[in-house]
Structure formats: structure tokens, C-alpha cells
């Protein structure tokens, strides 16, 4: 899946792999992280949320394992 640009002070762009449920997030400044085992609806919630940064902080950060890429 291609990058989806998000308007946020924190997140720069995101993409999602449905096969492995992996969510990749690029933050401003260029750091890229992959979150593992993120359900599709959470990803969809992230890109449709009013505030992507807040959704990330509430629903993703602290809920899924991640690695720096």
C-alpha cells in the first residue's frame, strides 16, 4: 500500500500492510517506525481521525509492539 500523507504536527505519513497487519508511520524529522499486529480498523481509524496525532497517542502508542526501521 502506498504512503498516505496525514496532516498532523507529529505524524508525517503512514501506510499499512493488510497481510501482516503492519502499520508503518513516518514522523516529522524522518524517523520511521513499524507497529506490529495493528488491526485494519485501527489503521482506518487513524487516517480518518480528526486529529491523527491524538488518535495515535490514544489508540496506538502503548498498545502495539513496534520497531524502528
Amino acid at each position: 500500500m502506498n504512503w498516505v500523507q496525514v496532516a498532523s504536527s507529529n505524524l508525517s505519513r503512514v501506510r499499512y500492510d493488510e497481510k501482516t497487519n503492519t502499520l508503518e508511520i513516518e514522523f516529522h524529522g524522518g524517523r520511521v517506525y513499524q507497529y506490529f499486529d495493528v488491526p485494519l480498523h485501527v489503521y482506518e481509524g487513524l487516517i480518518t481521525a480528526d486529529s491523527h496525532g491524538k488518535f495515535f497517542g490514544d489508540q496506538i502508542k502503548g498498545h502495539y509492539r513496534f520497531t524502528r526501521v
Binding site: M1, N2, G29, G30
Partner: protein, 626 residues
């Protein structure tokens, strides 16, 4: 004269380059206005001007107040706050050129003026010549650019010192960005030894990045250092280890030379002939093959007792007389041999090796290193790995092209995550290959003299210690001592200058000193700097972040400059772990605890590779999708 607003006071005492000045009554207000601009009087670190005939002497204020009173006067001047001590640094003519050093001294009664912005422009400003690179602006007045002379900066070595978080890496990134800005210096050539992997992100556009275990998705190239490019001493220290006995050493030298000669006979190479080859010649040979042969000679059993050779090895055989396992040189698997048996009824008789070489232990050390995957960058260097015949796919020229001749001006060798003992060997080997190639090519257009190279050494204290006799320290010592003549310059960056060998530090002719809190570090730097500038260096603990005192040959006159940081997305990523995360990034203690999987922790530890196997390669996916 009292009406001259720039007048500060008069010279009362001269002692070498140190001048004591008594301030005028009128200046006690502490503030002067010249051309509508306010100047604070008697700021430590500010400049003063002493006109003498047709020249102006310039000095830096190092002390103000009671302690600046000359000793003998101290008793009489109870209120000695009207004194000021000045260190003279240089002189300028009225026409505007400024130079370091003094041709004459001031005398008692000479009038001291404060230095206006006009004067500063005269001293610092040389914006017309493109050899000056702007790295920021003067801390005291933003309108004046801080310029460094790139000639002296590159070839005469420099040092960037400062405590953690004072902006060393940002300074270096800014400098590199300025130098490598498109079109400015088309043939610029810079190599960065990046111990913490900070620069890759910052220099993306200008740099080629090499890394052990490179990530091709990010356009990184694998970092290889072929072992056969090392000289014998270095090779010995990374392979066999210490071999104290001269005879054993000689045996190994002979083995290496013979193996090199064999490979050369099979594939002749320009510049070396069978009669000129020696153990140090950088031609390919198979160290795996050398190990195998030495193993056969030294550790195997043989079928006869005199004249043992490779064809007398007693390989173990099965019932039908077939050899079970000859071993495998490339896989570092020793052959299976028959046990020793010299009893009368034994047929055939099997004898122990009679080799006079006593190198069983060094041989084991070699085998161990050849098998250790952490050393793969050295012993299995991709296309530069010679086969058992000693012939690799590529020769050194293609390696040098990668490092020195890439399209981008900066080459970053990302050495993050490499164990420290290996790091030292790696840096030593790397620097020697670069130095030797540019040294011998010094008359060519590719060579260092015609196209100098700047080597940036990050975190230098990690491998340039005082008593460090490791290969890295040796290589750097050679560069700082002799590199200037051959166009190889070092920029040494450290937060702990006191741990760096004094001979190395004192060869650096330009210093960028950022905030340094530690007393030892400060005095170490002060003593390494040739100028008489203790007053200036006493400011080191109170510099702001991003502020540097620049002294030495790359600048006309010492300056306190605010370094211009590169744009935010091009700043080096210091990657400090976060404890409290302000920015809602992934890490920090202030987050819910996600599920954990320590099985993967162990997996990565065993793999000795921090890249998770779960990482999805989106680019690859996309291609498959198509």
C-alpha cells in the same frame, strides 16, 4: 579626545602581549553609543582597538575589575574596578587588511577604543573570496558572518570539542552541508566516520552511506574492507594475534608472501612483479587457503616422518580407502586426519607433524576469526573476497571509487553498532587504505595533493586515547603528522578532549570549542591551542548551545560565533533515548505498556543484528503486487 565616543581608556602597563588598561571616568556608565548603536563597555571576550600611528592593534578583553589591577598598584587602588586586562592578538592597517601577530607594542598612554561594528566587519569580513565558508555569525553582532578559510580548515586538521548536547554534530552537519551545497565545490571530497549513525539522515541528499549490514531499501551500500589490503602488521593483529617468536613470525610471513605470489602468477596485476612483491604488498590472496595449508602442515598427521609436505597428509579414510573429509578452506572446516600411530604393527604408520612452526594457537585464533560473522566485513568482503586461488571478482580500484569518487561529495561510513574492539581495527584498516592510496597517487589528479580529502572522525576519544596503540590511533597519528603535505586532513570531534592523545590534538590547527563544563577538558584544549588566549577560553563553560569559540589558522582572529544550524530536517539525529516523551513519539516511560515479546529480543541478540525479521518491505510488496 574625551568627546570621542569609542574611547575607553589608556594603556598603563604592557607585559608581553598582555596589556593593562585603565578606564576613563566617563566610561563608567558601562554603555556607549556610536552611530546610534549601543555598545557595552568592558565585556569579557569583546575586542578593543589601540591605534598606533598608521596601524591599529587589536586585543581581546580577558579581565575586568579589581583583579585586573597590576599587582603593585593593588594596595593603592582600593577601588580597582577601573582596570581591564587585554590580550593582544593582531594588527590591521587603516586600509582594512588584518593580520595575526604584532609588529609593535603599545606604550603607556596610548588610547584604547572599543571596536565598533564597522571595525568588526573590517576584521572578519572577507565575503568576497569563495574560499571562505560561512558557518554562522558572530555572537556579538548577527550581521557579521563568521567565515572560515576552507584551505586551512581541511588540510591543517581541526578539532570540534564540546560537552554532549552543545551542538557539535549540528556544527559539523552545517559545515558539511555548506561545503557540499550543489555547485559550490564540485570536487569536494569528505569521508565521515560516523560512530553513532547520526549523520545518515541529516546528509541524505549529499551523501553516500556505507554500513555493515546495509539496508538496500534505503540505498545504503555495504561496507567492506578487504583483509588483503592491510599490511602485515595489521593483518597479524586482526588474524593470528600476537606471535612473539621470530621464527614463527617468519614462517607466517613466508606463508603470506607465497600465497600472494601464487595468486599473482595466476593473475598478474600492474605495479607489482614477482620480484617486487613482499608481504605488505596490497594484492589479493586467499587467507582461507593459507589457513588450510598451514593447518595441514602444523596440525595434521603425516604418512612419513621426514620431508613432510602437503601430499603426505594422513587423511582419514573409510573401509574402501576413500578420503572421508578433506576439509573446506572457504568454510574453515579442518580436514579429518588419522590419529598418530607409530607402533610396529601399524600399517600405514602415522606420524605427528614435524613442522618447526609453533603456531598452533595463533592458527586457532585465525580460524576462530574467519568463522566469526562479526568479522565478515573483513574476511568475506563481498566481491572482494578472493576464491581459494586468491582471485577476487573486483580489485581495490572499485573499492576506492566507491569511497572516494562517488557522485556525492560526502561519504558516510556508518559504524554504529560495531563492537569496540572490532571498531578500532576497522577504523585503522580503513584509514590506512585511504591514506596509502592517496599518498602514492599524490601526483595524480585523483591524489590527495590535487584533490584533498577531509576525514571527519566522530567520537574520537573512543579510539584515540593517550596510550592507545591500536591501529586506529596509529593511522590517525600518521594522518595528523604527515597528512597535511599530501592533502589528507582530519577533523576530530570529541566531547572528552582530555582523553585524546595530546600529540594528535596539538596537531589540529583550528579549534571549534563549544561549551565545555569539565575543568580538565578545558585546560587540555587551552594547552593544545597555540594562541595566548586564556581569557577567551575561560568563557567555555558559559557558551550558549550552538555557540563556539573558533581559534586557529582557519580564522583570521579568534571569534565567538553562533553556528548556523542546518534546516530542521537536515539536522543530525542524536538518537538519545527518551525517558519522558514530550512530542508523542513512540518511546518514553510515560506510555501505556504494550504487549511484549522477549523471544524476539533473544532472536536479535543471537542474530547480532538489530533489524527485526518482522519488518515489512513495502517496496518489495508493491513490486510483487504488480
Amino acid at each position: 579626545m574625551a568627546t570621542d565616543p569609542s574611547r575607553l581608556g589608556t594603556v598603563e602597563d604592557v607585559k608581553g602581549a598582555t596589556v593593562s588598561v585603565v578606564l576613563d571616568e566617563a566610561t563608567l556608565s558601562g554603555l556607549a553609543f556610536i552611530n546610534g548603536q549601543g555598545y557595552r563597555i568592558g565585556q569579557v571576550g569583546s575586542f578593543v582597538r589601540i591605534p598606533i600611528g598608521y596601524v591599529d592593534l587589536f586585543g581581546i578583553v580577558s579581565q575586568v575589575g579589581a583583579s585586573a589591577v597590576p599587582e603593585r598598584l593593588a594596595e593603592h587602588e582600593a577601588h580597582g574596578h577601573r582596570w581591564m586586562t587585554v590580550q593582544l592578538v593582531g594588527e590591521g592597517t587603516r586600509r582594512g587588511d588584518f593580520k595575526r601577530g604584532l609588529s609593535q607594542y603599545p606604550t603607556i598612554g596610548d588610547i584604547v577604543h572599543l571596536v565598533t561594528e564597522e571595525d568588526l566587519k573590517r576584521i572578519y569580513g572577507r565575503p568576497d573570496s569563495p574560499k571562505y565558508v560561512k558557518i554562522g555569525s558572530l555572537a556579538s553582532s548577527e550581521s557579521i558572518p563568521a567565515l572560515v578559510d576552507i584551505n586551512n580548515l581541511v588540510t591543517r586538521h581541526s578539532a570540534v570539542v564540546g560537552s554532549t548536547g552543545t551542538g557539535k554534530s549540528t556544527t559539523v552537519a552545517g559545515l558539511l552541508n555548506t561545503i557540499s551545497r550543489a555547485g559550490r565545490f564540485k570536487s569536494a571530497r569528505i569521508i565521515v566516520l560516523d560512530i553513532h549513525g547520526e549523520y545518515a539522515a541529516a546528509m541524505q541528499e549529499h551523501a553516500t552511506i556505507f554500513r555493515i549490514g546495509a539496508d538496500e531499501a534505503r540505498k545504503e551500500l555495504p561496507l567492506y574492507i578487504p583483509y588483503w589490503a592491510l599490511n602485515f602488521e595489521e593483518l597479524l593483529s586482526v588474524t593470528f594475534g600476537d606471535v612473539p617468536n621470530d621464527a614463527d613470525r617468519g614462517g607466517i610471513i613466508e606463508g603470506v608472501t607465497e600465497t600472494k605470489l601464487d595468486a599473482l602468477r595466476k593473475k598478474p596485476r600492474k605495479g607489482v612483479t614477482e620480484s617486487t612483491i613482499n608481504v605488505d604488498t596490497p594484492v589479493p590472496f586467499s587467507i582461507h587457503h593459507l589457513w588450510y595449508e598451514l593447518h595441514l602442515l602444523v596440525k595434521s598427521t603425516h604418512l612419513r616422518t621426514g620431508n613432510q609436505a602437503l601430499d603426505t597428509v594422513a587423511y582419514e579414510t573409510d573401509k574402501d580407502g576413500n578420503i572421508i573429509d578433506r576439509g573446506d578452506a572457504m568454510k574453515v572446516r579442518p580436514p579429518k586426519c588419522k590419529p598418530q600411530n607409530t607402533s610396529k604393527e601399524a600399517e600405514p604408520k602415522v606420524y605427528l607433524s614435524q613442522s618447526t612452526l609453533n603456531i598452533r594457537r595463533p592458527l586457532e585464533a585465525l580460524a576462530f576469526k574467519l568463522r566469526d560473522s562479526r568479522y565478515d566485513f573483513l574476511f568475506k568482503p563481498g566481491d572482494w573476497l578472493p576464491d581459494t586461488e586468491g582471485i577476487p571478482k573486483k580489485d581495490l580500484d572499485e573499492l576506492l571509487i566507491q569511497w572516494l569518487e562517488c557522485k556525492r561529495p560526502v561519504t558516510i561510513l556508518d559504524l554504529s553498532g560495531i563492537p569496540r574492539d572490532i571498531l578500532n581495527i576497522l577504523i585503522g584498516a580503513l584509514l590506512r587504505i585511504i591514506y596509502d592510496s592517496l599518498f602514492w597517487a599524490r601526483n595524480l589528479s585523483e591524489g590527495g595533493r590535487e584533490r584533498p580529502l577531509l576525514i571527519v572522525l566522530e567520537e574520537a576519544h573512543a579510539y584515540l586515547g593517550k596510550d592507545d596503540a591500536g591501529p586506529a590511533a596509529q593511522a590517525v597519528r600518521r594522518i595528523v603528522k604527515e597528512g597535511r603535505k599530501y592533502g589528507i586532513g582530519a577533523m576530530i570531534i570529541s566531547q572528552r578532549p582530555v582523553e585524546i592523545d595530546t600529540t594528535i590534538l596539538s596537531q589540529c590547527s583550528t579549534f571549534f570549542a563549544m561549551r565545555l563544563a569539565n575543568e580538565q577538558d578545558r585546560s587540555h584544549v587551552t594547552s593544545a591551542v597555540s594562541d595566548n588566549l586564556e581569557g577567551l577560553f575561560s568563557m567555555l563553560p558559559i557558551l550558549r548551545t550552538g555557540e563556539a569559540i573558533i581559534v586557529g589558522e582557519a580564522v583570521h582572529i579568534p571569534m565567538r560565533a553562533m553556528i548556523e544550524p542546518p534546516p530542521k530536517n537536515l539536522r543530525p539525529d542524536s538518537q538519545d533515548p527518551v525517558v519522558y516523551d514530550d512530542f508523542d513519539r513512540p518511546g518514553g516511560w510515560n506510555r501505556e505498556r504494550e504487549p511484549s515479546d522477549y523471544a524476539e529480543v533473544v532472536e536479535l541478540w543471537r542474530k547480532q543484528n538489530p533489524a527485526s525479521s518482522r519488518i515489512v518491505d513495502f517496496k518489495k510488496k508493491k513490486k510483487e503486487g504488480k
